[in-house]
């Protein structure tokens, strides 16, 4: 194997990656509460998925273990399935109540 490969995990401390993914995850959480548009809430969910993926990959590189990266691969698969179902629900919601505002979906409030 090429000895010239330098990975960032040997230079950048692991804490930097942890703080970066915490920051991205917090922005995603704030966005879910902040916005009313369903499509942007779905995008914030994707952002949170990606921060977790980044953290898993950083730990995988730190421990030199490829299994965490396989796990990230499965998370991507599940995210792809989730986003298709979410967007189909969004299209159905637009067709039925003619809006993408989450505040319209309050029939379970009682």
């Amino acid at each position: 194997m090429d000895q010239g490969i330098i990975t960032a995990i040997r230079i950048v401390p692991l804490e930097h990656y942890i703080v970066l993914s915490f920051l991205l995850f917090s922005i995603g959480v704030a966005g879910v509460v902040f916005r009313r548009n369903t499509i942007i809430i779905l995008m914030c969910l994707e952002l949170m998925f990606n921060s977790v993926n980044l953290l898993l990959t950083a730990f995988s590189a730190y421990h030199s273990d490829p299994r965490a990266q396989v796990f990230v691969f499965f998370i991507m698969l599940v995210a792809a399935a989730e986003v298709t179902v979410g967007l189909a629900i969004l299209v159905m919601m637009k067709r039925n109540v003619d809006s993408v505002d989450v505040n319209q979906l309050n029939r379970l409030k009682g």
Binding site: I11, S26, A30, V33, F34, P66, A88
Partner: protein, 185 residues
């Protein structure tokens, strides 16, 4: 290397802020694409080349195009969204900030773990990930195809124009006099 890390980190955090704060959904999608590309840069820095490629293909190539397609289909590109009340917005920012502070407090004293394995430059290349995926994780890999099948069936069911049951319960219009006469004849 450290400068590259900070560059990609700044791009991803700033574009994540734009995703949350942009008024138009199109701008949010574009900012999210930029964010995903910078995260792919992080993967390359971490020597996870397989993941970087899969990430670009799946997220930037498929998922974000799907988002753009839905925005185009539903004509959502105008910034017509009414904002939440001021109290809710302040509460949202506070919730995110407090969540971040809590997470930071958990690692305040630093993380003192030693690497489990010797450093291996081959980790993250297609060879090592593929060996792991098709030896250890073959069953979950196959089961994920069932997940996709069920997602596909669900999407088709949700996206159908008119449910078959609803056509049965439609009110039947009474026949007019002229129609009755025509049928008798």
């Amino acid at each position: 290397m450290l400068a590259l890390f900070y560059l990609f980190a700044a791009i991803s955090v700033i574009s994540a802020f734009i995703v949350v704060s942009a008024r138009s959904p199109i701008n949010s999608v574009i900012a999210l694409v930029v964010c995903f590309l910078s995260i792919a840069g992080h993967y390359v820095l971490l020597n996870a080349q397989f993941l970087a490629m899969v990430h670009i293909i799946v997220y930037t190539g498929a998922i974000m195009v799907l988002f753009l397609f839905v925005i185009m289909l539903l004509n959502l590109n105008k910034a017509t969204e009414p904002m939440k009340s001021l109290g809710t917005r302040v509460a949202a920012v506070l919730a995110g900030g407090l969540f971040f502070i809590t997470l930071i407090a958990a690692i305040r004293h630093g993380i003192s773990i030693t690497p489990a394995n010797e450093f291996d430059p081959g980790v993250g290349l297609v060879r090592s990930v593929g060996m792991s995926l098709f030896n250890e994780f073959l069953l979950p890999f196959e089961v994920s195809s069932v997940l996709f099948l069920s997602a596909m069936v669900g999407v088709v069911m949700l996206g159908k124009k008119e449910p078959a049951l609803r056509t049965v319960t439609l009110p039947v219009e009474p026949l007019t006099e002229a129609e009755l006469e025509r049928r008798k004849a």
